[in-house]
Symmetry: C2
């Protein structure tokens, strides 16, 4: 069993780096705060008997050797970067739980067959550099390294420059090596485990998520003199398209998710019908065939409603993460650990994307969830109890040991 | 009759100041371009035998003495400032048509009984300093002078500083004097005259316009893990509130206008249900009792829909211009001029606010419209034909002569 008190203390120590007045964390990718977090983690890992390597994407690998150096490692990890008004647990928990596993094994002088590694993936949040999960994405071959290096933040600083500035431009190629198994432990970021009063989620996969920008175009005109029936008003399209998309989510309840996170009106003058509305559309479903049907319905709805209202439109694909199914080896190892430890648990699919989603393309992968208060995440008030965090870390320890002995 | 060719040439000369690549004008209030436009106008007015005074708000009064210095003047005018991507006619036409009246009288050596004045009202558009029509608003006692002086643009420059910078901080008090009658000639900014193939609109008033910000508040949450039925999503409120407000406009067709010109999502992240949407709502109707009923219905709809969806909301009043009825004296003078000149015309109510709307509170006021192509305005492509502009200016000449002789 791991030391829950020590795990909690490490979480609180790490949370001081980039601590916000609102009780959360602002430790965005490759900033000075991120560097301090990384430095602290590395010193902790070295104290726990690990050797540390950094790759070209700034991904950090802290390795604890097993009996057989040639066996592929069992890896675990997540990310240290946060949202601008993020919390203390999202990502960080998965990294520090991995560290806690290393510390526990060192303390009890346990040597596994296969090596173990704790990994920090660069820029998971996507808050500073877009897209999200770019560190694990490059490592897994989803993105090209040079493409990733050239991504820039709002100030025009490229990811490569930011890596240089904080000295995390490592020399190890950012490219998947053979891995026995990869596990990621994370807070749920949703309300389900808490509402069902369960401590552990055994993840079977990640739902698919498709991101679009819907541009609805009309004719700008003056709010006063223009008769209603002569207008080509993008807001009329918006009103009916959003309504029909919420109906679409109901049709595919309970798993379909339809979210509009952002919108912009151009020119955006109070007394002018906008020429253009740009709406961010996020569609999700665990089943690819349903998600594809949702996309088609979305395209049809936009086409029909805009056609009916004399508007034009275009749909820009921003990102696609098809549904991910985790590996039976990993799911079973997690199931077994939960049974051994006798925690109340359920199987579930992740609603959010995670680094594990990319890793699943190149390695047997699984995930473990613990509840978070009211499902709040990406929020300074994000919270999880020390008991649940300890339980999740014990499941991680047992599952990793199991996978490393096989 | 006025000289249509000279009027057109003056419009084109003025349009060179702040000319945009797109064929329009960017001559925002109290900028360097506005100064150059004002200087040019003043030199033209002086050449036409007028004496020029500037008041504390930068409003310009170019006066042509009548036979009786003590009679209150007949005034006409509009504004020289434009939208950032404005056209060549909105406002400018009303000013240069007034100048053309002066030039015609000088040429024909006609002296009226009452003095005549051409007025340039400062910052009509409200594009640089908010609110719109602040120059005529202060003069008419709607706004306090010191309040107006302290309004600042996006760069933090106050209106008073901007007046100083371009040297248009006059010493005449910005306060209504007795006026025999005030007329404003303007392009329609809507499609009605063009569609009916008429040349002149005889204005009987200005419809009322109420401006609000509707703030819809929900609970921000992650787009992935949060079940649809557990969300408090402001976009659900937006969808039904906008739909019901368009239905409200239909209920009060054909005169009701409902416009949403701008919207903002906070925090505005693609994968987070917004905490808050801020929607600009513009309600208009020529009849105050109907407009007040529309406001009440708007408040009820917001209340009911937000209540039903577990959202909260607030409504912030931004501006109110109640419907304006023009003075019979002025309407009759315009009617008579149209009859004499035999132009195809109709009576109508202005859909847009104008300086004349404020003047109507302190002087007998009227307006004249001419068609503009496709009803386009606040647009670089804004266009009106030389023939229509000439016709409007002839109506102005005849109506002013009539009013100044009475
Ligand atoms: N965990 C997380 O917030 N990932 C970002 C991608 C998503 O929106 O699911
Ligand atoms: N003419 C004009 O655009 N006035 C501004 C006020 C309005 O929106 O009607």
């Amino acid at each position: 069993r791991i030391n829950g008190q020590r795990l909690w203390q490490s979480l609180m120590d790490m949370a001081e780096i980039g601590a916000t007045a609102g009780g959360g964390c602002n430790r965005q990718a490759l900033t000075d705060e991120d560097k301090r977090g990384r430095d602290l983690l590395i010193s902790w890992c070295e104290d726990a008997g690990c050797t540390v390597a950094v790759d070209e994407m700034g991904n950090i690998f802290a390795r604890r050797e097993g009996r057989h150096e040639t066996l592929p490692p069992v890896i675990t990890g997540s990310h240290l970067d946060t949202q601008p008004t993020g919390g203390k647990f999202d990502g960080v928990y998965g990294v520090l739980a991995g560290l806690e596993v290393m510390r526990t094994l060192q303390e009890q002088d346990i040597r596994t067959e296969a090596p173990l590694e704790v990994v920090v993936w660069t820029n998971e949040e996507g808050a500073r550099f877009s897209p999200a999960m770019i560190g694990s994405g490059v490592w897994s071959g989803v993105f090209d390294r040079d493409y990733a290096w050239q991504r820039s933040d709002k100030a025009g600083i490229t990811l490569q420059q930011a890596l240089d500035t904080i000295g995390y431009n490592g020399d190890v190629p950012a490219k998947a090596r053979p891995v026995k198994a990869a596990l990621e432990l994370h807070i749920e970021q949703g309300p389900i485990l808490e509402q069902k009063e369960l401590q552990i989620g055994v993840l079977t996969g990640i739902q698919g998520m498709y991101w679009f920008d819907l541009v609805i175009e009309g004719q700008p005109c003056h709010a006063g003199p223009t008769p209603m029936e002569q207008r080509c008003d993008p807001f009329m399209g918006l009103s009916s398209i959003t309504r029909k998309l919420y109906q679409l989510a109901e049709t595919h309840a309970p798993w379909a998710r339809v979210t509009f996170g952002d919108i912009r009106a151009e020119p955006g003058a109070r007394n002018t019908v906008p020429e253009r509305l740009v709406l961010a559309v996020d569609l999700r479903h665990p089943d690819k065939s349903v998600l594809d049907a949702m996309e088609k319905a979305f395209r049809d709805i936009a086409e029909n409603e805009c056609g009916r209202l004399g508007l034009t439109h275009s749909i820009h694909e921003e990102w696609r993460l098809p549904p991910v199914s985790f590996d039976t080896l990993c799911i079973n190892a997690v199931r077994k650990a939960v049974d051994q430890l006798d925690y109340p648990a359920m199987e579930m699919v992740s609603g959010a994307g995670h680094d594990a989603g990319y890793l699943a393309g190149v390695a047997p992968t699984g995930m473990i969830f613990v509840p978070c208060e009211k499902g709040l995440s990406h929020n300074e008030a994000e919270h999880a109890t020390p008991e649940d965090l300890e339980a999740g870390c014990n499941v991680l320890l047992h599952a990793m040991l199991d996978l490393a002995q096989q």
